[in-house]
């Protein structure tokens, strides 16, 4: 079989598979622990756990269905048509071409009026997607750099990243809910004096402990997964446009500008961090511990991976 220039990156695929597998493992271990606690203490853990799972599931489905509306509202973005001015026309034209190259349905196009340069795409699948760029971004980048950024965002849509990350977060949400419910049960039920008192307290304490551990571990894994998916989107975007240098240039421009913007804007953007092209809060200035909490890989890492794409594209057949 002839090797294609567009072959996927084995290393990245392996790492992502491992992370997803670990998340699944943690979920299974969590369920086992809850069942174990229930069996050992004869308590009604099943009811509490079920309640938490249903509630968590509800949040998850709700956020999936409304992700586009929520994201647009939070960013202060408005949908634009190609006739809404030269910026809108350019944005539509670039998105048109990316969709034609990638054979994807065209998403709704929105512009957010802020000087902070950034772009995001959201929506539960390709048919309900929205892509948004800020006026600050369009002002700073040329057409090719903008194309690279938008191709990265469209890759998130193609990879169904909103769905994947929401489902991955499901476990953390359920664990957090269980933690809270156990905590409050302990608070309110702690004054009873009857035979089951010892058991009930033990059970609740155990649930809380397990939930805290699960929450912490899955939080770190989810952040790790998010970083890998950013790299995957970088890679897909660069392969689609065939211009990894344009994407590198855009990354450098955007990352540099991000750190110079006053803190007012950054705090407003924190909630949308996961969707953004570059993280709105730049914790990275040298500190290595903060890297494991970051939703985005470091600039150096992203540039290095794009170098790999460049080499791959220029190899002769």
């Amino acid at each position: 079989m002839a090797r294609t220039r567009y072959a996927p990156d084995r290393g990245l695929t392996t790492r992502m598979t491992a992370t997803i597998f670990l998340l699944g493992l943690v979920f299974v271990a969590f369920i086992a622990a809850i069942i174990g606690i229930g069996a050992a203490t004869h308590g009604s853990t099943a009811v509490i756990a079920l309640f938490a799972i249903v509630l968590g599931g509800g949040f998850m489905i709700g956020s999936l269905f409304f992700s586009d509306k929520i994201a647009l509202a939070t960013a202060g973005a408005r949908e634009v048509s190609p006739n809404d001015g030269p910026m809108a026309r350019d944005l539509h034209a670039i998105v048109d071409r990316i969709c034609a190259l990638a054979d994807m349905p065209k998403p709704r196009v929105a512009i957010a009026d802020t000087d902070m340069p950034n772009a995001f795409a959201t929506g539960r699948n390709a048919d309900h997607a929205v892509i948004c760029a800020t006026t600050g971004l369009m002002r700073r980048l040329n057409h090719e750099e903008l194309e690279g950024v938008l191709a990265h965002e469209m890759s998130h849509v193609a990879h169904k990243d909103v769905q994947v990350m929401t489902i991955a977060s499901f476990l953390a949400i359920v664990a957090a809910l269980l933690m809270r419910m156990a905590f409050y049960s302990e608070l309110f039920g702690g004054g009873r004096r009857n035979n089951n008192d010892q058991n009930a307290a033990l059970m609740l304490f155990a649930i809380m402990a397990v939930s805290i551990v699960v929450y912490a571990v899955s939080f770190l894994l989810i952040r790790l997964l998010s970083r890998y998916r950013e790299l995957a989107a970088d890679r897909s975007g660069a392969l689609l446009t065939g211009q990894p240098s344009a994407l590198k240039s855009a990354l450098i421009k955007v990352s540099g500008d991000m750190s110079r913007i006053p803190t007012r804007d950054l705090r407003a953007a924190e909630g949308l961090n996961a969707f953004f092209f570059a993280p709105a809060m730049n914790l990275n200035a040298g500190a290595s511990l903060s890297k494991i909490f970051s939703t985005h890989p470091s600039l150096e890492r992203r540039l290095a991976e794009l170098d790999k794409v460049q080499r791959q594209l220029s190899q002769a057949r």
């Binding site: 567009y6 349905p105 057409h143 990879h159 995957a232 392969l239 446009t241």
Partner: protein, 193 residues
């Protein structure tokens, strides 16, 4: 994209469909019979160039190929231009009654790119038409979808949608039309129109 590819974030680049382009000559006959639009003899391939030596070598080979074939028949050399969005257009001009030869040329360009592994870079092909009132029309072929759509620009970056739909009706089933109207994207200022 398969489930596993989505899960692991691996995008498979989309390969172009090349053969549906050959339906164009017979569709042009139907078009001329039903309206007054005749081919101008100009056709172009639009693709996204890839950075690096490998692609520029392939691009040069493709241009030489086209030039050789057109000069052998006393035609014009191929024009290469880049539009404002960074896409490259290779424009081939033939006599207006040589639509079949034009389509063969365009197919040769496509096959060259595909054979060298750059199929995913192909965006669209445009064949230009004009009627006796000097109205412009293009039939655009989307490689990744294997479908056509009409494009009738008017001055001031407007589209003559009525004309486009009329053309689609006249040609009817002779061509595979793009059913998703949001994919009928405009190519303002396309060379060769």
């Amino acid at each position: 994209m398969g489930f596993l590819d989505t899960l692991l974030g691996r995008t498979k680049p989309v390969q172009p469909k090349l053969d549906d382009l050959f339906a164009l000559p017979s569709a042009a006959i139907t078009l001329e019979a039903g309206t007054n639009f005749k081919p101008t003899g100009s056709g172009s391939v639009c693709f996204r160039a890839v950075e690096g030596r490998s692609f520029s070598d392939v691009e040069k080979d493709v241009r030489d190929l086209l030039n050789a074939s057109s000069s052998a028949e006393g035609g014009l050399p191929v024009e290469v231009s880049k539009d404002s969005y960074g896409f490259t257009w290779l424009v081939s001009s033939r006599m207006s009654d040589e639509l079949e030869a034009l389509v063969t040329d365009l197919h040769a360009v496509n096959s060259s790119l595909v054979d060298n592994g750059f199929g995913p870079q192909l965006l669209c092909t445009l064949v230009a038409f004009r009627d006796d009132q000097e109205r412009r029309l293009a039939l655009i072929y989307l490689y990744k979808r294997g479908t056509f759509y009409p494009f009738a620009p008017l001055p001031g970056e407007r589209r003559d949608n009525a004309l486009e739909l009329e053309v689609k009706g006249v040609i009817g089933d002779d061509l595979k039309w793009e059913s998703d109207l949001s994919r009928w994207f405009p190519v303002w200022g396309a060379p060769g129109m």
